[in-house]
Amino acid sequence: MNEILKMAFGALGVNKLRSILTMSGITIGVFSVIGVMTAVSALRGSIETGLSFLGSNTFQFAKWPTGITGSGTDWQKIEARKRITFQQAERYAEIMKPYAEVVCFKVFNNDSLVQATAGGHKTTPGVTFGGTNEYFLIANQYSIEAGRNFTGGDVDMVRPVCIIGQDISSKLFPAQNPIGKTLKANGRTYMVIGTFAAKGTMFGQSEDDIIMIPISRYLMDFGAERYSVNITTQAPSQIAYNATMDEGISAMRVCRGLRPEQDNDFEVYSNDSLIAAFAKIADVISAGAFIISAIALLAAGVGIMNIMLVSVTERTKEIGVRKAVGARKVVILTQFLVESVVLSVTGGLFGIVLGTLAGDGLAMFLKVSIVFPWGWALTGVIVCSVIGVVFGLYPAWKASSLDPIDALRFE
């Protein structure tokens, strides 16, 4: 076997350029599918394990759907929806009290890039800046590093206080305790009452580059009429999740003043629906990659067959010599089959390496953890071997059944 492989590499080495060109077809085919699969599984892995922007057993109501939506979304209808007001949100929380304690309200800055300053220090523009209540921690899986969380009082009293992420803390208050200090965000002054523990990044965005203030204060400072409140509700347990969501939806309908025959005029989404939406997109991209690779691999297979046929013709005399000194049919068949498999698998290995690099490059760009797609790589190698065998079989068979005398006479 060793011998045959050496022979195959030797034979392919004679026509390096030709071999490389033939291989590149396979490389491209494998590259596209492995690249996409690596990127998708890196994203999927990070979404499914670390779906950290939503807490467990939570669902959300919002005017706007998330960025991830299928086609066929009726944007005009959504546009026409009335925003969810703070009053509606408070009423909702009131109604939901018997079913769910954790009801988090959120509004986020949605126009100009926010830059925070404090004592001559500046953050980069584009800080996540918003208003919320004391349940922000639970609903969004943040925790307090130092200082304290918001209280109901902060919201009720509309206090100008804030909790800041580690990025902000280190930029505005390097080597100091930020608690009790003040900062300016969007032209208003807030006192730091706490810092969030570092969380890392999600989809290329730091989650520590954040300033949150009481929602009541936010709406007062920046105009209640300009914001629609996002409501996150956490069910007390996994078991109560569906029931709580049903209660939540009817409570929300009441708050929104909907008549029974009217459709919901708000979006409902949950971790599951986000995962499902992502999975749907991932499936479409994967299917696309599959089709492209299948076509590329088919074309590459035909290319291999073509080159192998040329090679058999070119080496007719060699085949004749080998047969004349006693090579059996199966030996010649194997020799050529191994050559085409080596060609195809080598091309495939390059494709796997390049595809993984590209996919993980994207993953790194998006700051999600990189993966090596063992399953896909193995599948790739197997598929390439099969391509090598299938498209090499006819040329190899042709070589093995040459008549020794005719082959030797071939000029």
């Binding site: 004679v14 080998r322 004349a324 199966v330 005398i405 030797l408």
Partner: protein, 243 residues
């Protein structure tokens, strides 16, 4: 190289058992509507340790007969027994095995693998005989030394002279210790001096007990053999010892 031994002093070694026996062998080639009778019924017996020359004008069927004796080709009709085995009815792989183990074929055009060095070329039959690399290497080196190419083992065919290439081809024919060595016009492509060297090598092989069949159209070459068969139009015209 020692000068060729004078003809009178040559030994005629006692022949061994029967190796090749053909009877009424014909070979037809179809070229469109036309049928070419390359062999029209040839019968022949060759014993171990014979030294045979096959002569005849161009197109008389020498190569056709040789290819058949070398199991590269099968007869259209007739009987061919090699060491008592019926060759005519053998399938491709059986023929391949016979070629590998029993026959050393020296081609007029050398037929070496251009990309492999002398050693690899000589090793080729041993690879197909399934011998381990170590043994192959030793035997191929020994075979090359026996034809005087011990210092050329890593030369590729295009780095060798015509005579050296022919000797590589002979080493390859010898290396698997075949029962019989067949050479189709082994000196046809060589100048007369190199031709003489090759014939001396054959003489040597004969003296060592090998069986040799050499096709030639040169009387002087044929006279190195101990028996001459003359072909004409696909039939044996004469068959007898060298006088």
């Amino acid at each position: 190289m020692t000068p060729p031994a004078p003809v009178e002093s040559r030994t005629v070694r006692p022949v061994g058992p029967l190796v090749i026996s053909i009877e009424g062998v014909t070979k037809l080639y179809h070229m469109g509507d036309e049928t070419i009778h390359a062999l029209r019924g040839v019968s022949l017996e060759i014993h171990r340790n014979e030294y045979l020359a096959i002569m005849g004008p161009s197109g008389s069927g020498k190569s056709t007969l040789m290819n058949m004796l070398g199991c590269l080709d099968t007869p259209t009709s007739g009987k061919y027994e090699f060491s008592g085995q019926n060759v005519a009815s053998m399938v491709d792989d059986e023929l391949a095995d016979i070629r590998n183990r029993e026959i050393g074929f020296v081609f007029q055009t050398f037929n070496l693998l251009a990309r492999s060095d002398a050693l690899k070329n000589v090793e080729l039959p041993l690879i197909y005989a399934g011998l381990p690399p170590q043994v192959r290497h030793e035997r191929a080196t020994a075979a090359l030394e026996s034809v005087g190419l011990g210092n050329r083992v890593h030369h590729k065919p295009n780095e060798l002279s015509g005579g050296q290439r022919q000797r590589v081809a002979i080493a390859r024919a010898l290396v698997n210790r075949p029962s019989i060595i067949l050479a189709d016009e082994p000196t046809g492509n060589l100048d007369s001096k190199t031709g003489v060297e090759i014939m001396e090598l054959f003489e040597d092989l004969y003296e060592k007990g090998n069986t040799l069949i050499v096709v030639t159209h040169e009387e002087s070459i044929a006279r190195h053999a101990r028996r001459i068969i003359r072909l004409r139009d696909g039939l044996i015209e004469s068959d007898g010892p060298v006088d």
